[in-house]
């Protein structure tokens, strides 16, 4: 019976749904994390009686026909790039983006990675790096005897050196926006890579055009909404149960069939 296979596609889809929700909930405290959402589509239909075929010589047609669906498939698991809440840490190298735009990170293989996680540190040479030690574009080196670091809303980095009153200009942070943010490929470690689907990065100063501003001393929290994730989890679990009921019922019906004499 087709119902067995159709219900099993339903169970597999809900299983994937729960896996996506589990990933979201696991990252509820990850800086700069963007929640994912699983999108399903119905599988193809089997035409037992094709719609629109002629039924007589007078030209009458079948108005609706018989179309049997074959189940569900996962169409996409995409990220929702809603702005996360800003949490104040008062750490001078913690930067958060308010608005659109990703920080550019220099990857070890020479390409650029993009990240919303602005929890930066200093390397042993005084360079501003991510938690994995990757340089922040375009490469900012804080002088050794700097007493404080200031990052303006437009990304201007300056350091106050001991013995001088005017801060020294260190560098300018640029941020990139993409036409299709959901098309970025997540490679883990809070990093994204550009793809064909995301479009080319539009790099510029924070605050210019549609780009957001940089807030120093803040970190962007994960945008996972625990209440809606738990609600989705409950509905996924019940959908899984309901599909398993279909399998049980089909099993009983087949049992009745095979008991016929």
């Amino acid at each position: 019976m087709r119902a067995l296979d159709i219900a099993s596609t339903g169970m597999l889809a809900q299983q994937l749904n729960v896996e996506v929700i589990a990933n979201n909930l696991a990252n509820v405290n990850t800086t700069g994390f963007k929640r994912s959402h699983a999108e399903f589509q119905d599988l193809l239909y089997q035409n037992l009686r094709r719609v629109g075929t002629e039924t007589s010589d007078a030209g009458t047609t079948v108005p609706t026909g018989i179309q049997l669906g074959l189940g569900v498939k996962t169409a996409a698991v995409y990220r929702i790039h809603e702005q996360g809440n800003l949490q104040q840490t008062s750490n001078s190298l913690d930067l958060a983006m308010s608005g659109l735009g990703f920080f550019e990170i220099q990857m070890p293989d020479g390409t650029l990675g993009y990240s919303r996680a602005g929890s930066f540190q200093l390397s042993k040479n005084g360079e501003v790096v991510t938690q994995d030690g990757y340089l922040v574009n375009p490469g900012l080196t804080i002088p050794q005897n700097a007493t404080s670091i200031a990052v303006s809303a437009t990304g201007v980095v300056s350091a106050t050196v001991a013995g001088q009153t005017t801060p020294q200009f260190v560098g300018q942070i640029t941020v990139s926006t993409f036409i299709n943010e959901s098309g970025l490929q997540a490679i883990g470690n809070n990093l994204y890579k550009e793809t064909e689907a995301s479009g080319t990065p539009q790099t510029g100063l924070p605050g210019s055009e549609d780009r957001g501003i940089v807030s120093q001393g803040f970190l962007e929290n994960s945008n996972v909404n625990t209440v809606s994730e738990i609600t989705n989890l409950i509905s996924a679990q019940r959908a899984y149960e309901m599909n398993s009921r279909v399998i049980e019922t089909t099993n009983q019906m087949l049992g009745t069939l095979s008991a016929l004499r």
Binding site: L4, D5, S8, L12, I247, T250, G255, S258, A259, L260
Partner: protein, 246 residues
């Protein structure tokens, strides 16, 4: 006269094989690197002898195994010696009886420092030699299989070798030997699969699919049983009626 029973029998013996295949898949639902398989059946047409080419009886024939080559789930273990393959490819393990190929990436080191599989056989590099890693020191395995370690004494990164990742022209022509190991006569071709250190590839068996399959098999079996039963009754009646009139 007994042909319906033989046709039913052909399917039933096939189904018993398939059931044991499903049981094998389910038993290995948490075996590292396991790949599920299913049996393939085809129609076997037999002439009834009356008019060749017409009125042929269709039997079910068990044709062979189909290996499910989809990627298993990756489990993060953070263990230095755990390697997971992503993509179509196998590790090459040197056993005394010859090389075998495996997706099971849970390796350990033996006392001499050689990287060995679960059953103690060495993992081979692209040049066919085993890999020796330094004792008690962390080493890194790159995505392409290159093994490097940072030598504290010389303060430099040393390259220890490159793990062989192979695939085959006919990916289905593999004989299973043990839970996650395969043997084949085909020559290995270099594969583009990548290695992830600190992760293990779990079994690619989907329990939902196997259980549904099991239910369908069980009901099929019952229905064929019905066929055999009613054939049996029919023959009994025929023999009874005919012997009465004699």
């Amino acid at each position: 006269m007994e042909t319906p029973i033989y046709v039913a029998l052909s399917k039933q013996t096939g189904m018993l094989e398939e059931m044991s295949q499903v049981a094998n898949n389910l038993a290995n639902v948490s075996t590292t690197g396991f790949r599920g398989s299913h049996r393939l059946f085809q129609e076997y047409l037999e002439d009834t002898g009356k008019l060749p080419g017409r009125n042929r009886i269709s039997f079910a024939q068990d044709m062979g195994d189909y290996h499910n080559l989809s990627q298993g789930r990756l489990l993060n273990t953070s263990r230095l010696y755990d390697l997971a393959l992503q993509g179509e490819g196998y590790f090459v393990i040197q056993a005394p009886s010859g090389n075998y190929y495996s997706r099971n990436g849970s390796f350990t080191v033996d006392p001499s420092g050689t990287l060995v599989s679960d059953d103690g056989y060495p993992l081979l590099q692209t040049d066919g030699r085993p890999i020796v890693v330094p004792a008690n020191q962390p080493f890194a395995v790159g995505e392409d299989g290159a093994v490097t370690f940072f030598n504290q004494a010389t303060n430099a990164s040393e390259r220890l070798g490159k793990i062989a990742i192979v695939k085959f022209a006919n990916s289905q022509d593999l004989r299973q030997s043990g839970a996650s190991n395969f043997l084949t006569d085909q020559p290995p071709i270099p594969s583009e699969a990548t290695i992830k250190q600190g992760m293990l590839e779990q079994s690619n068996v989907e329990p939902v699919i196997e259980i549904t399959h099991m239910i369908a098999l069980q009901r099929s079996f019952e229905m064929i049983n019905q066929l055999v039963q009613s054939e049996h009754d029919r023959l009994k009646q025929a023999i009874g009626k005919i012997s009465q009139s004699a």
